[in-house]
Symmetry: C2
DNA sequence: CTTAGTGCAAAGCTTTTGCACTGCA
DNA sequence: TGCAGTGCAAAAGCTTTGCACTAAG
């Protein structure tokens, strides 16, 4: 999607930032892996395949920048790494989606839900707390791992 | 609540672990601050008031142990620290409560909600994902900070 | 008496930062 | 050409670990 790349370039210029080879390379890595949840180190390794001389610090600085520009979403799986994935490239930030983390294979699935919105309304009413953002992680077992588990138990 | 302390002692013995002064001291600190969300460092400082010679490493080792025994709950506010609070001391783990984090004053409020349960059912049906635990953080502004904000704007 | 638990200091880990150099505008 | 951006290495900050000592059972 060169459209997103173009959007990113315009966004950089609009903010008085420079369009560098490294920034574009990092964007491309994230773009080529939609739905993947990459750590800074993983992004670094991918970018190095094409640009051997990039520095890890640049990756960290760039993902922070892209996160502030809402080009990518950042979140944690609580394994000690911050993870990033390509966002929707919209000008205005909407609530991002949530994550299902499989405790067996570690894979991450996304899901959208509008139920949280009504929960936020309820909290506003009952506690006077004004919610502006939320982060939801559900831990469990994915369909594949459940089937594997069932098959294994049958064999025993 | 010496009952909880007794429960903890029994739990330690049941698992072949020793009841030490340090472990009891750390439990007491957590017990005396229900609803507080302490970091290891904060627990360390509190325990040091009574037991000046305790080591930070012991606090880390103990909170990890207590967390595994489900005596305390651990969670993150994404400020780089892992936080702990006293749990419900039940033998079987139930879903723990969720957190509202005020982006202005940093205070953390707890709330209980059963709405997540129905969401989990929905996910099970539509995606075949079996949810066993969840973590929900809502970010926003608490009642007090909203009022302060409103008062400030009126003055300007 | 035995060995789990502790305290200290050092190491580990991801992420950030200082600084001189490079390359976009 | 000027200054934002980069690469490298060092630092930062929370947490873990190795080791000799202490104390619980």
């Amino acid at each position: 999607m060169p459209d997103n790349q173009e959007y990113f370039k315009v966004l950089l210029k609009k903010n008085g930032l420079k369009v560098t080879t490294q920034r574009i390379a990092i964007l491309e890595v994230l773009q080529n892996r939609p739905g993947c949840h990459l750590t800074a180190e993983e992004i670094y390794d991918c970018v190095k395949e094409e640009h051997a001389d990039i520095g890890l610090a640049t990756v960290y600085r760039t993902v922070q920048l892209m996160s502030e520009l809402n080009v990518i979403d950042r979140f944690r799986l609580d394994d000690g790494y911050v993870r990033y994935e390509i966002g929707k490239m919209e000008a205005e930030k909407t609530h991002h989606h949530h994550h299902l983390v499989c405790l067996n294979c570690g894979r991450v699935f996304a899901f959208e839900d509008d139920m949280l919105e009504s929960l936020e309304g309820k909290i506003q009413e009952s506690m006077g707390f004004s919610v502006v953002d939320h982060e939801v992680k559900l831990f469990g077992y994915c369909e594949g791992c459940q089937k594997k588990q069932a098959a294994k138990q049958q064999k025993e």
